[in-house]
Symmetry: C2
DNA sequence: TAGATTGTTAATCGATTAACAATC
DNA sequence: TAGATTGTTAATCGATTAACAATC
């Protein structure tokens, strides 16, 4: 009678964090962990971790906890990260070129296969073994190689049209470094890398020391 | 009798997004906007935007909406982003050096004033006008200049000890690029820049085309 | 067995949305 | 005035936490 509801998106978003913590524990030579240990390391409640994992199966053993390597493998399967994914980068400015050099992507099986820009000065240049191609060719490339992932590092005012272009060609997931909210169809996911808004978020809470304040006040007293 | 509860953190986190949208509208020459227009641009409900803003004051006019420049100024005051904030960068690897070159920080009044690393090969080198200093000197620098912000770009295994060091010296906000969850005291905020976990989150939802699947299947039929 | 820890239910908490009187 | 849009309340929805029987 009851239809199982899909796992909440917020839970999916936490699985990569759990996976990373497990990888660390595994590297440290541990074989088993518990929702309490994971929770402590990640600043989450053990209840949340148990409930999140239980969405996808019975991965633990009462009294013992979770086998680290087994749980890692399960999470990789669930997330579909147990294979290599090819990625294109749109925009060969500072951010785009920095992404090419970032080892973390390849270490996690995201392989950057092409880099596109509109600047004719840049086209043909080589960045760490990747040639910069004309943005005109991006759609054809994405379609031909059935690429699903793009990182978007164009200026803000080019981001939406660039996104439209590559979505049309088959892109399903965009990691957006451009400081603008994208409008995309239902079947396309967007995640935002937005250091400015995160800095501004934290800035709200900053407390200024008294001395600093006093130094900029008028000397109205005595 | 009733004590006004502080604005939820999740609301604070959306204010920078609203601010950025307003800046865009302002650049486009508009003077007034509405919760409906903002909501459409940002993929949020108009009710949410009105409720979020009403946490901080009555900024709108019935029948008219919000004066863009006025609301921008109010949000900047609330977030404390209407001044320059100095920032130190811990770690002069690829990410740290890329951050030095990123214009977005200075455009938004976050001024990177120092860069620290433990690698004696790097110390003394100059990155876009910023000298790389020994990480040993970071705490003293932070304390002397009363720096509140740090960006953390060390390897994962150095991140926690580096954080401890600069928190002790007075850092209140850390933008963490290292792929590890930090443990920090109550009064310190941490935000994570984590492209890998965002890619992995999206990967869960990727749908593979039939042809691709078929190509990797055994030819068991006919 | 005793101790530990899971998976799950129910209770709590918090966030979002719908709706509308107020009013520009 | 009529139309538009706010600020706010109440209803709904969803996420987190507490608690514990089951069981390794």
């Amino acid at each position: 009678m009851s239809i199982k509801s899909p796992p909440p998106d917020i839970v999916i978003g936490r699985l990569p964090i759990y996976l990373r913590a497990l990888e660390l524990l595994s590297r440290q030579g541990l074989e088993v962990t518990s929702s309490y240990e994971l929770g402590e390391r990640l600043g989450a409640s053990s209840a949340q971790i148990r409930k999140d994992l239980a969405q996808f199966g019975d991965f633990g053993k009462q009294g013992t906890g979770y086998n680290i390597n087994f749980l890692m493998e399960q999470l990789r399967q669930i997330l579909q990260v147990n294979r290599v994914w090819e990625v294109v980068v749109m925009g060969a400015g500072h951010i785009g070129q920095a992404l090419i050099h970032y080892q973390g992507f390849s270490q996690n099986q995201y392989r950057i296969v092409a880099l596109f820009d509109t600047d004719t000065q840049k086209i043909g240049q080589n960045v760490n073994g990747i040639t910069i191609h004309s943005a005109d060719q991006a759609a054809a490339y994405v379609a031909e190689h059935q690429i699903k992932f793009a990182m978007l590092t164009t200026p803000a005012d080019a981001a939406q049209t660039t996104a439209d272009l590559i979505i049309e060609a088959g892109i399903q997931a965009i990691l957006n470094y451009a400081p603008i909210t994208l409008n995309v169809p239902e079947h396309v996911r967007v995640e935002y890398i937005d250091p400015i808004s995160k800095l501004q978020h934290m800035t709200y809470y900053i407390e200024i020391d008294n001395e600093t304040e006093l130094a900029s006040q008028d000397a109205t007293d005595d």
